[in-house]
Symmetry: C2
Subunit: 219 residues, 2 copies
DNA sequence: ATTATCTATAGATCTATAGATAATGC
DNA sequence: ATTATCTATAGATCTATAGATAATGC
């Protein structure tokens, strides 16, 4: 603590040594698979193909290394929300595309939800990272969605639903579909080779579900 | 392995010594909070107020102790599905009650979903336990639900939906509501004291959502 | 001079067991 | 005799750092 550390500046990506990068990649895999507590810095170094001391040379502590991985993953999660918006198309089609894109993102990053959820229970620091990165993005998306919804509601083409509720339903079903895939396949007795078909079917079903909600009878 | 163990029969609950029970209770708390990998037998013994050797005397290995906790939790989860059924009431009301009861169960056991999901990724033994305990229960529930649904569909009072999809939607939303509560509260900017109100509102919303699906226009 | 790398090791834990001793049930 | 409990310790790890040495950039 009271000694000068030989650590390199890791905030600017210019110092992207192969060793350092190898450690980061290995850390990403290990942390995503086992979580902070169960991951071992020795295993990370082994996977990166470097001596264990190098890990501490570049990242000083396990916590420090983890935080960088965590931050990056939260950022990835946030970006997945923004990319949906923007294109010009009919409202319902946009919703359809958006829900599908979010589903596909999760299917491509199946460990992400469990990783995040696991690490934020009981750790307020990490929750804070979530808040800082996700909140602005989330607010923006909800606001835009609500505006678009209001226009449609006024014109009478969709039922009066709140953007927040719709978003929660959508995220719930998508995240849980990926999160519970191992159990769901067990319970629905789906074989490994039918995995993708099963996912595709569920995706279709979720989109239907969201659309059904929008087309519900107006009260 | 090749020596006689002094371990007591733990399959019959008659040997419910205070020490043994204390260890089990402590283990339940530790494992639920930290997961298998991060939980320490030393911490469990400390929490139980017994010497660490006692833990190994009664349960021999950490794995063994964990498996007993895990089995019990899966059983609890399974039971939560069966208790819903049975009572006599109109179909829609039954659904409403069922969804609400499932939600309440999860709200009362908020760590259960993450605990189970975390432990079954990458561990086929534990997944097997899930399958054995949950599959028969799940099949039974789906079958009953589908029968009830078919009757209603035939009489034209509800839209043609599959019991499996309906079940998945319901479980998704309920589980995710509890699982994501910390993040959701962050994103929806809910204060700690409004937690219960927030949950109650979400519960109501999920029930509505399920009912909406049932009342959708028949095609 | 600074940066990168290796060897070696300190210092904490953690799981698990051995072996002694006390308490309990016939 | 059997069951329960304690003390002590073996044997693995795990995180982190010290200190030597090689490579690199002025």
């Amino acid at each position: 603590m009271n000694k000068t550390t030989r650590q390199v500046d890791t905030t600017t990506p210019q110092a992207d040594t192969t060793t350092q990068q190898a450690i980061m990649s290995a850390a990403e895999i290990e942390f995503m698979e086992k979580g902070f507590a169960a991951a071992k810095t020795t295993a990370i170094a082994r996977r990166a193909g470097v001596t264990h001391a190098m890990l501490h040379y570049y990242y000083r502590t396990k916590e420090n290394l983890f935080n960088q991985v965590f931050q990056a993953k939260i950022q990835l999660l946030a970006d997945s929300f923004t990319t949906i918006l923007g294109r010009e198309m009919p409202f319902l089609e946009k919703i359809e595309q958006g829900v599908g894109a979010h589903f596909d993102f999760l299917a491509a990053n199946p460990r992400l939800p469990l990783f995040v959820l696991r690490e934020i229970v009981d750790n307020s620091d990490r929750r804070e990272v979530c808040r800082e990165v996700l909140l602005p993005v989330f607010k923006g998306v909800i606001e835009k969605l609500q505006k678009a919804l209001n226009a449609e509601i006024e014109s009478g083409s969709v039922a009066p639903v709140s953007a927040m509720d719709m978003m929660l339903n959508m995220v719930s079903m998508n995240v849980f579909a990926i999160l519970s895939l191992p159990v769901a396949m067990l319970l629905a007795e789906v074989k490994e080779e039918d995995r993708d078909r099963f996912l595709e079917r569920r995706k279709r079903q979720i989109i239907e579900q969201v659309l059904t909600q929008l087309k519900a009878e107006k009260r």
